[in-house]
């Protein structure tokens, strides 16, 4: 009977309503986590600022500049890309953005006959590059939504190791920078060597405190301090990138889930309309059948016909 279609539609609407509840919940969760992740980004700023300051003071304060981490290599043969994405999907184009950016760089490297190494951070990113058969180093993951400094330390140490062992000549970070809840961008930032960073700073020496750098008293000597400091500096930068990526992930997920909720609502509306029409059609058809049946029986009395319709409607 025609009622069959109505039942199918009712089932679909119910399932969409259930999905809508889930996407709505995810949207709300992400929205509340954006604020927290944004707070974490802010909370990490004082440390980054201070450590940059210390590196600057050290480089003007007599530390010898011949640290491997500070020196760029003349010939860049292999570049390592640390690609920071999410552990889970359902976040719109978030993962695709960083993956595409990294892939573009890699293809350019391959064209120039250079080597590359992908270090994926986040399970989804790992799957993406593994499936496509890219050369991969150690993969990190499991913390994309709330990274701790410990995670950054591991990645930083690994990056420094890759560079100092000569396996790669350059390490770049690919991540999504969080500008505001409504605005994020995929960026590519050099991580190691640090020459570009400190070099720029040495040129424009500024002393906000008015203290000449050479007056610093070092304990132990500047070079030893720099040796412990530089890996920390790398880690702090990785950490900042991870926090930015986490905040961006929440923002992307919130947007994606909002769109999904809106779509579900739209779909429910459309399907309800189709269902109501189907029901109306079924009723009309039934009445027509009854009228037709009554006429076939030869009854001309309208009252009798009405009785027949009522009796059928009561069933």
């Amino acid at each position: 009977m025609a009622g069959g279609q109505e039942r199918i539609l009712r089932g679909r609407i119910r399932s969409i309503q259930a999905t809508k509840k889930i996407t709505r919940a995810m949207e709300l969760i992400s929205a509340s986590r954006i604020a927290k992740a944004q707070g974490a980004v802010q909370a990490a700023v004082p440390y980054s600022e201070q450590i940059t300051e210390v590196v600057r003071h050290l480089s003007v304060g007599g530390a010898s500049p011949d640290f491997p981490l500070l020196q760029g290599r003349d010939e860049i043969m292999t570049t390592c890309y640390i690609v920071i994405g999410a552990d889970r999907g359902l976040c719109g184009g978030y993962n695709a953005g960083v993956e595409r950016a990294a892939e573009g760089e890699i293809k350019a490297d391959v064209l120039r006959d250079r080597g590359y190494l992908v270090v994926p951070v986040g399970r989804k990113v790992e799957t993406y590059f593994r499936f496509r058969g890219y050369q991969m180093g150690t993969a990190f993951g499991g913390f994309s939504e709330a990274p701790s400094f410990e995670d950054a330390r591991e990645i930083g140490q690994y990056a420094v190791e890759l560079f100092t062992s000569g396996e790669v000549d350059r390490v770049e970070l690919v991540y999504t920078r969080f500008i505001s809840p409504g605005n994020q961008e995929v960026v590519l930032r050099p991580l190691v060597p640090l020459s570009s960073v400190t070099g720029a700073r040495i040129d424009g020496v500024e002393h906000p405190t008015g203290t000449p750098a050479f007056d610093f008293d070092f304990e132990p000597d500047p070079s030893t301090i720099l040796e412990v400091l530089l890996p920390r500096y790398v880690q702090a930068r990785v950490f900042a990138a991870l926090l930015n990526a986490a905040a961006s992930e929440h923002a992307f997920r919130q947007r994606a889930m909002k769109a999904a909720t809106d779509n579900a609502e739209e779909l429910i509306k459309t399907l309800s309309r189709i269902m109501n029409r189907a029901r109306q059609d079924a009723i009309t058809t039934e009445i027509m059948e009854i009228v037709g049946g009554a006429e076939a029986l030869g009854s001309d009395d309208p009252a009798e016909l009405l009785e027949l319709v009522n009796a059928l409607a009561d069933d």
Partner: protein
């Protein structure tokens, strides 16, 4: 009243303390304990695991366990950048004690750098939490 200076303690994840103080005592690698007062000459040092004390402008003492990092003094500001740091109230004493006992146990049989580091971290935590060394 003694002169005061600005003191900041930051870890990678947050700002632990920021305020006016009269003295900061911490420990550098190789150098041992060192105290800073207002007007100290510019100084930059790498820190060891230590029980760091801040004597604030109103005379109260803030105890912290600082696990490695750096201290920078300049322009009447002392900044401590630690890899990890805890205020005395946040320290899990029971956990630090088990960590200390385990490290000591381990060191009796063999000497390894990890256990030494664990022991010094535990000592710094316990000292900052106000427990006497054993």
């Amino acid at each position: 009243m003694a002169n005061t200076m600005t003191v900041e303690v930051v870890s990678p994840e947050r700002l632990l303390y920021s305020g006016e103080a009269t003295m900061v005592i911490t420990r550098t690698l190789e150098g041992g304990e060192i105290a800073f007062q207002a007007g100290h000459m510019p100084f930059l040092g790498a820190l060891a695991d230590s029980h760091t004390r801040i004597i604030t402008a109103d005379g109260s003492v803030i105890d912290l366990a600082v696990h490695g990092g750096f201290v920078e003094v300049g322009g009447n500001t002392v900044s401590i950048l630690s890899d990890a740091a805890e205020l005395s109230g946040e320290i899990d004493v029971a956990r630090a004690q088990t960590a200390r006992d385990r490290a000591q146990e381990h060191l009796r049989s063999e000497h390894d750098a990890e256990a030494v580091a664990a022991l010094s971290r535990a000592h710094a935590r316990l000292a900052a939490a106000g427990l006497p060394p054993r």
